[in-house]
Each structure stands twice: as structure tokens, then as C-alpha cells.
Amino acid sequence: MRRGRISERWWALLGRFGLTQQRWGSWPAWMRRLVKATTWLGLGLILTAAFGTWTTSALAVAAVVLLIVVPPWDRLPNIGPYRTGRWIPWLIALGFVVAYPYYVNGLPQLPVFGPFPNVHTMVVAGIFTMMALGLNFVVGYAGLLDLGYVAFYAMGAYVCGWFASEQFAGQHIDVGAVGLQQGWIGIHLSIWLVLPIAGLMTALIGVIIGLPTLRLRGDYLAIVTLGFGEIMPQVADNGNNLGGFNLTNGTGGITSIDGPGFGHGTVARALHLPASYLGAGNLDSLFFWTVIVLVLITIFCSARLRDSRLGRAWIAIREDETAAAAMGIPLMRTKTWSYATGAFFGGVAGAYYSSYNGGAFPDQFLFQISVFILCMVILGGMGSIPGVMLGAWFLAYLDQEGLSNVGGWINSHFNTNINVPNYEFGIYGLIIVVVMLLRPEGLIPSSRRAAELHEGVHDEPLYDVEELNAPLTEPTV
């Protein structure tokens, strides 16, 4: 836990009740944590009670938070090189996330926001978390504004459609697919194969889009990516007759995409893994647990890449492109890598989503989605993994359930008849404006990024624009 500061004014107030700063400091750390955590939880519980939604499970939530926050976990001895203490609170938290489907129905009603999100919402939020972390490679790390990220999402979804549905009826290929009906046609690969394939193919598209566009800077790059984001759904819309070849099935989209599953192999049976997700009764839970694994992999890659040589190069480019070039960082290659990495995770997320949805439709891949994912990154804090996750989870939750719940609460309490979800993007805009005013570095900022926003960085036109011989920017000599 970070050392929180308590301001002088509060100390003066607390001192009157006999709690001086010295006395507070003399208490053991776990006790201070206990007091702080109980104070905040107590306030929360009082608020809950005030809204008339008090239940015993609110106490259970409080107990869990205390268990994670209070004990001095970081004092535990290390196992080898691993700092056990740092991991335990996270593992407990992860345990509670994994168990979410089991206790979600017993959770109390929240004031204003209503019930806790259901498992379906959590799956979608998980998928968006993955996409936002993917976009974070491009926007957060390398500092390249990408307004067409939806193109990668669409690509992933369609790759999944090609390799795991009856789209190509002339083919008859089955590699580990599950849940096939009698007399099936088309290409059916196991979703576990399709996910990396979709990622790689999308990364390839990322490179193809990146090579011509990444020579541009700032606004120009944003405009070109915006264009690519618009091209993708158009291609999907009109791809039902490419010289007689039906690639995307046009406006109808590709439907009945296979679900994941582990089949009937001996290993799967021994481990009690579900044979086919779509056939299982707890379908949402299975998709939820799988998306947790995918998100964990994404987090792992994000953190490792950020601290790698490549990650350093991304951050250097974001801070000062000219200096980075002068240090011998190959700009194009480094930027293209960030694009490809971001595209990879966008593609995997898109493929997984289309498998969950059972289809890929061109009207899913609109410009709004690009903006939506960008909002998640900006809201949470560009370049910060926990920040981006929080932003993604929160906005996806609002989109799926939160806004209509809040709308219901408003309508029933104020006797109005407002369809709040209609104003979705207006509300996101408002949230972003408020966050930018109060906390421009995002909710949970990365330390570097926060400093950049408060102090500004060099931004000067660079050679690669000039090399194109396009008179976009001409620095005075």
C-alpha cells in the first residue's frame, strides 16, 4: 500500500480527539492500515445504508477488502527470487475475480448503479480490457494516435469467421474443432488455434497499414488511421463478391461461428475441462474464465515489453522523436512493432468476441468503437496498465449495463422518462472532459506520463515527413 499523506488541517482536527501525528506514527503499520481501511469501508457502508440497499453481503465485501489490504503481506519471506509478499494480495484479488460467477447473485444492490454486473457484462468488459491494453501499446507506449483501432478488431473477428464457421462451404477441414453437427461443411479449426492465427494475421495487417502511414506524424497519422478504420467495415460490407468470391458474406456477416472447447480427449476429461463451451450450461462463466486468462497474458506481455529494450525505445520516441532517432533508434521499425503488437491483441480480442457472439457483422465495427477504446485508454491513464484496465472495465460496464441501470434509477426517483443509454457517447464525452480537467493524466497514471502532461515534451517536425517530399511541414531553416 502506498504511503498516503494526511494534510495538516486534518491532523489539527484529529489532534483535538487525542490522535496526534506522533501517536499515529507509533502504531504498527498493519494497525494503521486497518484503521484507514475500516474508515473508508465504514463510510462506504454508511452510504450504502443511506440509500436503503443495506444487506449482509456488503459486510462480506468489506471483510474481503480488509483481508487484502490490512495484513502485512510484504513482510512474508521471499521464495527464491520471487517476492511472495507482493503477489499474495493480487492472488487473493484474482481468486475473488475468478469466483465472481458463484457469488454475483448474492451481492447487494449498489446505490444508483443497481445490481453488480452480470457475468455476460464481465466477459464483454474483459474483451474490451484486452483491446484497450492492445491500443495502449500504440497510444500509451509509443505515443501514436490511432483512431482506427476497430480495423484490427474487425480483422480478428473475420479471421475467426473464416477459420471456424461454414463460411467457405466448398471446404471440408476440421482441426480440433468442437461441437460440430452432422453433415458439417466449411473450415473448422479449434478456437485455441484460431486465436493466435487471428492475432498474427491482424499483426500482419497492422504492419501493412503501418508501413506507409507511420512515416506521418501527429495529426496526419491520426487522419490516415481514421481512414483505415472506415475502410475496414466497407470492405466487410462489400466483400461478398470479390470477383465472384464471397469473403465476408456482405451485410449479413458471418454467422454461427464455433465456440471454444476442449473436446473429449483423455486429458480434457481427466481435468474436467468442458468439451464445448456452447453446449455447457454455464456458458458465460466459461467464457469469463477464459477471458481472464487472455487478459492475464496481455498484462504479462504489456509489462514485459514495456520494460524491454523495445519498450524503452517506444517511450523514447514518445518523449522526443528527434532525439530518439539521433540515439540510433530505428523509428519506422520501432513504431511498426508497436502497431503490430497492438494489432495482435486487438485481433485476438476480436476473434474471441466473435466466437462468444457466434458471428461477425460489419455493423459491429464502426468508428464509435475506435473512439470507445481510445476513451478507455485516456480515461484510465495512457501507458498505465492498471489504469487502462480500470478505464476499459468501467466504460464497458457502463455500455453494457451501467447506463441503463443509472437511467432506471433517475427515472424512478425523479419521475422522468429519459432513455439514458441514448446519450451514451455524450456521457462518455462528459466523463472524459471532467477527467481531463481534474486529472489530465488519467485515473491511475503511469509516473512518466503524468510528468509529461504537466511539463510538456518536445514536438517538432521530423525528417520522415520531409523525406516524402510532401510539403506538410516545412521547418524554417
Binding site: R309, D320, A325, L331, E466
Partner: protein
């Protein structure tokens, strides 16, 4: 002057453009092994553009650049660094949110020999003890002089054969200017050739062995530094004498 072997760096009649604006109109210069060569001239004469042409940030449209006998006219910037030309750019351009140590490590981006890098970090810290004190401080919070030290140190981390310094004295307090010039001589003694761009022509001509005077994109004058410092036109134009 004794006729040495082929020069380390040979720039031959380069013409460099920004879009359609011509910045260099045929600049030729040489840097020999172990020399300090200075490039002086007024604002907009093309000093920085010459450096940008050499290090691959702005490839010249005509003319050629040869480094150690290898043609680098069209070599991209990251390969130029690998060949052994490093630069401390104008305005220092540190990575403000990285620590001093991280900045130095970025300077060695093209290298992978960890032991050698550590050696060079120690060498930079020996040159600038001030940087060692501040190694975990964010570069953006350093004073101007310390930033310049960090920028030179960062360039040295590439273990260059030729170090190009662009206006190292710009905006510094006089005491720091002296320190920086002392260090330049010291680095040169350790075996690095230096191409020094300066507005502070007096100081530059004191430490350099030869100098080039640039005017509106061409070399107007070239001579031994001592001779240049005596030249009447130079004294009028750049040394503030009437």
C-alpha cells in the same frame, strides 16, 4: 600540416533541402582522426543542417558524405550511430522523463555489450561527477549545464569515433561554458574526434585545430583555428569587434 591518411569524415559538396527550401548549397569539409574541427557561422547559415545531413536525419540531395572510407550519404540515422558517429543535438533534447542513467542507457541503444556499457557509464561519470550524483534524477529536472553534460555523456555512450556537438554552450552560465569546453578537450584527448558547431566562436576557435565559417549554406572561409581567430572578417562578424 602533415598529410595524414584519408580523413575520418569527408563531406563533399552536399546540398540539403527542407521540402523545397534549399538549406545547404554545396558544403565541403573534413574531419581528420583526432581533430577538433569547429563550424561557426550566423543563425541560419546551415550549421545544424550540416550535422543533420551527416547523421542521417536529413539526407542531402546532392554531394556525398564519407565516413572511414564508407559512403554514408544515404545511410539512415540509426545505422550512422552504429558506424560510430554520435551527436549531442541542439537544445540538448534529453528524454526529460527518464532518469539520467536511463538517458545514458538510451545513448547506448545500438550496443549490446553490457560490460562495455558499464565501463562507459563509469567513464561518463568520471568526466562529469555531477551526473553520478544525479543519476536517478529525472533529466528534465536538471539545470541547463547538467543537461548539457548529460547530453554529451549520452552521445559518448555510443562509443563514437566522431562526436558531433551542436551548440553545447547555448544558454549556459559562463562557468558551465568553461567546464563544457574543458570536457570537450578532455574527451578529444581520450581519442574521440570532434565536430563542434558553435555560436560562441571565440571559445570554439580556442579549442579547435581547424575551423570552417559557414554563410548562407556555403563554406565562406576555412583555415587553422588560430588563423581564423586572427582573420579580420571573422573577428568583425563573429567575435564582436568593430
Amino acid at each position: 600540416m602533415t598529410a595524414a591518411a584519408a580523413p575520418l569524415l569527408e563531406v563533399d559538396g552536399i546540398e540539403t533541402f527542407y521540402g523545397s527550401i534549399q538549406a545547404l548549397r554545396g558544403v565541403s569539409l573534413q574531419v581528420r582522426e583526432g581533430e577538433i574541427v569547429t563550424l561557426i557561422g550566423a543563425n541560419g547559415a546551415g550549421k545544424s543542417t550540416t550535422l543533420r545531413s551527416i547523421n542521417g536525419l536529413n539526407h542531402p540531395r546532392r554531394g556525398s558524405i564519407t565516413f572511414e572510407g564508407q559512403d554514408i550519404t544515404e545511410t539512415p540515422a540509426h545505422d550512422v550511430v552504429k558506424l560510430g558517429i554520435a551527436q549531442s543535438p541542439e537544445g540538448r533534447r534529453l528524454f526529460p522523463r527518464m532518469t539520467v542513467l536511463e538517458n545514458l542507457e538510451m545513448g547506448a541503444f545500438q550496443r549490446s555489450d553490457r560490460a562495455g556499457m558499464q565501463e562507459d557509464i563509469d567513464r561518463v561519470f568520471a568526466l562529469f561527477p555531477r551526473l553520478a550524483e544525479r543519476k536517478s534524477q529525472k533529466a528534465g529536472t536538471l539545470s541547463g549545464g547538467e543537461q548539457q553534460m548529460c547530453a554529451i555523456g549520452r552521445a559518448l555512450m555510443a562509443r563514437p569515433r566522431l562526436l558531433m556537438l551542436d551548440e553545447p554552450s547555448m544558454g549556459l552560465a559562463p562557468i558551465f561554458v568553461d567546464r563544457i569546453f574543458e570536457t570537450i578537450v578532455e574527451v578529444n584527448k581520450q581519442g574521440t574526434s570532434i565536430l563542434l558547431v558553435e555560436q560562441n566562436a571565440l571559445m570554439a576557435l580556442q579549442v579547435a585545430s581547424r575551423g570552417y565559417v559557414l554563410e548562407t549554406g556555403t563554406v565562406a572561409l576555412t583555415d587553422d583555428a588560430a588563423q581564423l581567430a586572427q582573420n579580420e572578417d571573422v573577428r568583425k562578424a563573429y567575435l564582436g569587434e568593430s
